[in-house]
């Protein structure tokens, strides 16, 4: 299963001899000691048999990271992170580490799966239950792999890519998000463990949606995931990230980096449904989701489209962006961010217009409930050379309850007179009359909220691939449970 790594708690529990599922592998050999220093980075790099240049790049990032301040501009509040109090490398967990059956899985988690309508077998896979179901996935994955190979699409883990396609990795890694970009991304550059790699050759339309689901070998990529997707001239790929079911992960810090490169006439569609553990209703626990995602539309007529549904994590700090270098290139950002209880989300995008006649669209919907805070933060920049650039931005916030906050902080910088920028934002609450109307037609309060919020988010949800959209809609309802009444 994707992106669930050994958790700090589990490792600690093992160290204390209390881990209830037992632990059969040799910890000392597969887990680097706590903390981060150059030796740990060398250890990670050596474990992965990396070439010299990559180790050097990691070390360069690490040295830079030491000097970088924490970003403080986001509207999120959390105690300082003790970077030395975390593990930066632990080997992927084997099947025997997981729960033996669904009986051992947190019933709360199963209840959510059920609401999402995920089949039992799927539930087992998602919960990390080591069962034969995995073999089905493997066989499914093999079928797909074969199909991809036929058209020349490379889809593998980052580690495999470093070994098998070093020239591609070397050319593009860090070319969109440089090692010195920001504190979180730089930490990732120094310490990334694994991730996905996609290369779509010239003129190829990837025959299926790619997702971590089918990337069995690259599972367990951990808290410092690094993804690189390259769409060569005239190609198209749609990539689905994450998983629509909540992945229980007690890791405090999830600092991933995603880089996309679209060459002439290429298009990348990147969809995310993020539902990491948000902490409990008292704000205890949950993931810090500090992710740097950026796409470069390098070629003429290229297009990058980000769609995200963010309902999980205690703190989300994430700005999937587009650098519109190629003339006529197109950037899109469609986002739904839902926060409840004590969650905090500061998310948005940057659209940097460099090429001529570039255009971008931003549709962001923020929904805040409970005691949460949801912020849209976005930058639209029209560079002097971006003749005829166009941007349209719409940000709407919906408040549920009177203890939450919804904020909109757009930055608009235009340096070309022929550029046209339009920004609209609204904040309102769910109308009492809307609620009553739905209830009069037989819907319960929670059903009514889910229906109205789904309507509010429609422009974004319809951008998701079909199978994702259905589950995302259900997720909208589930994540707002207990927010009314």
């Amino acid at each position: 299963m994707a992106a669930v790594t050994e958790t700090v708690e589990q490792v600690q529990a093992v160290a204390d001899g209390k881990y209830k599922y037992g632990f059969v592998t040799d910890i000392e050999a597969d887990t680097a000691p706590k903390g981060l220093n150059e030796d740990i980075i060398r250890f990670i790099s050596a474990k992965k048999n990396e070439p010299e240049w990559l180790l050097d790049w990691r070390l360069k990032a690490y040295r830079h990271w030491l000097k970088m301040p924490e970003p403080e501009w986001a509207m999120v509040d959390f105690p300082p992170i003790d970077y030395q109090d975390a593990y930066y490398y632990s080997a992927p967990k084997s099947d025997t580490d997981g729960p033996k059956s669904l009986d051992e899985v947190d019933p709360e988690l199963l209840r959510t799966y059920e609401k999402l309508g995920i089949p039992l077998q799927e539930q087992e896979r998602l919960a990390g239950v080591a069962v034969d179901a995995v073999f089905d996935s493997v066989s499914v994955a093999t079928t797909y792999k074969k199909k991809l190979e036929e058209v020349g699409v490379i889809f593998c883990s980052m580690s495999e890519a470093v070994e098998n396609h070093p020239d591609l990795v070397r050319e593009y890694l860090g070319s969109v998000v440089p090692y010195s970009d920001n504190k979180h991304a730089t930490l990732n550059s120094a310490a990334f463990t694994d991730g996905s790699f996609v290369y779509v050759p010239k003129g190829v339309r990837c025959p299926m949606e790619l997702s971590t689901y089918f990337r069995i070998n690259a599972a367990n990529t951990g808290q410092f995931e690094r993804t690189l997707i390259i769409a060569d001239e005239g190609s198209y790929v749609s990539y689905l990230e994450g998983c629509t079911a909540p992945m229980r992960d007690e890791n405090q810090l999830h600092a991933a980096v995603v880089e996309l490169v679209a060459l002439d006439d290429a298009e990348i569609k990147y969809s995310t449904v993020q539902n990491w553990y948000p902490g409990d209703e008292n704000g205890v626990g949950g993931i810090y989701n500090f992710v740097t995602k950026r796409g470069a539309c390098r070629g003429r007529n290229s297009k990058i489209s980000w769609t995200q549904v963010e309902t999980g994590s205690a703190i989300t700090w994430k700005y999937p962006s587009c650098i519109l270098q190629g003339d006529n290139s197109v950037g899109e950002f469609y986002s739904v961010a839902i926060t409840n209880n004590y969650q905090q989300a500061d998310t948005g995008t940057k659209m940097i217009h460099i090429g001529k006649n570039t255009s971008s669209t931003i549709i962001a919907k923020g929904i805040a409930a409970g005691k949460s805070n949801s912020t849209y933060r976005g930058l639209v920049k029209i560079q002097p050379g971006a003749k005829g650039a166009r941007n349209y931005t719409q940000c709407d916030s919906l408040l549920i309850g009177d203890k939450c906050g919804a904020h909109t902080v757009p930055y608009i910088e235009s340096r070309n007179r022929s550029g046209r920028v339009e920004h609209e934002a609204t904040t309102a609450k769910i109308g009492e009359d809307q609620m009553f109307y739905c209830q009069q037609r037989g819907l319960s309060e929670e059903e009514a909220v889910a229906l109205i919020v789904n309507g509010f988010c429609k422009e974004v949800l319809q951008e998701l691939p079909m199978e994702f959209a259905v589950e995302a809609q259900k997720l909208v309802g589930i994540s707002l449970e207990g927010s009314v009444g």
Binding site: F436, Y437, C438, Q439, Q440, R441, G442, L451, N454, K458
Partner: protein, 250 residues
């Protein structure tokens, strides 16, 4: 079917209904007429269970059960339907989706099986045809950008689909021209039957030419000032509400 006894209702501290008594038997259509501000809409909201309407005295029994104890969606499931005077707009939610969600929620509460997409589509198409509700309207967001007539037809379509046993029509004629009124009235009349009761609330007698009531009540100053047969409506049309001391501008 419906039995209202000595109902007192307060809104924002002001008593609007001051002791209403009303009994509607199965299959009957009653009309409530009255000047603006007499409490007509208050009565419809109290029946549907809207927040902010405080019942300070009296009772409402619906099919022998205490209606006031039920949540709005429970009332809907039990068969109480309110056609809103001003139907609410819900951006982004297609009418079709709304209707399907509502119907299945109601069916679920009634212990009936949910309809699948095909069965539902068939049902809606059938009902929509009678009311001139086009597929295009069903695809659009609930009441968003609808004309006055479209909104009212949409209300009656919802009524037809949800199949209530007590329908409360609040000023369903307001804002309609005569042709639109006929379409809506035909839709309502098609739903009349021995097991379904209706309470038609209106300011004007005009609607009652098309939906002919069994009983007519005049509501003034929060009380039922007079009751009678359908001829009472004509009398009111001729004389106005002056004899009830109503201030038309209220």
């Amino acid at each position: 079917m419906l039995e209202i006894k000595d109902l007192h209702v307060t809104v924002d501290g002001a008593e609007i209904l001051k002791g209403i008594d009303l009994a509607i038997a199965p299959g009957e259509v009653h009309a409530i007429m009255g000047p603006n501000g007499s409490g007509k809409s208050t009565l419809s909201y109290v029946l549907a269970g809207r927040d902010g309407y405080e019942v300070t005295g009296g009772s409402i029994l619906y099919k022998g059960e205490d209606l006031l104890e039920m949540a709005p969606e429970e009332r809907a499931a039990a068969g109480v339907f309110l056609a809103f005077q001003y139907p609410i707009e819900i951006p982004g939610v297609a009418s079709m989706t709304f209707l399907k969600t509502a119907l299945n929620a109601v069916r679920k509460q009634r212990g009936e099986s949910e309809l699948d997409a095909m069965q539902f589509l068939k049902l809606v198409r059938e009902k929509a045809k009678l009311l001139n509700v086009t597929d295009d309207m069903l695809k659009r967001a609930v009441n968003v950008g609808f004309s006055g007539g479209e909104k009212k037809r949409n209300e009656v379509l919802q009524m037809a689909v949800l199949n209530p046993t007590l329908a409360v029509l609040d000023e369903t004629d307001s804002g309609l021209d005569i042709d639109a009124l006929k379409v809506v009235a035909d839709g309502v009349n098609a739903l009349r039957g021995p097991d379904r009761s209706m309470l038609v609330i209106t300011h004007y007698q005009r609607l009652l030419d098309y939906i002919v009531p069994d009983r007519v009540h005049v509501l003034a100053h929060g009380r039922i000032a007079r009751s009678g047969g359908k001829e009472l409506a004509h009398e009111l049309e001729a004389k106005g509400y002056a004899e009830f001391g109503a201030n038309e501008a209220a």
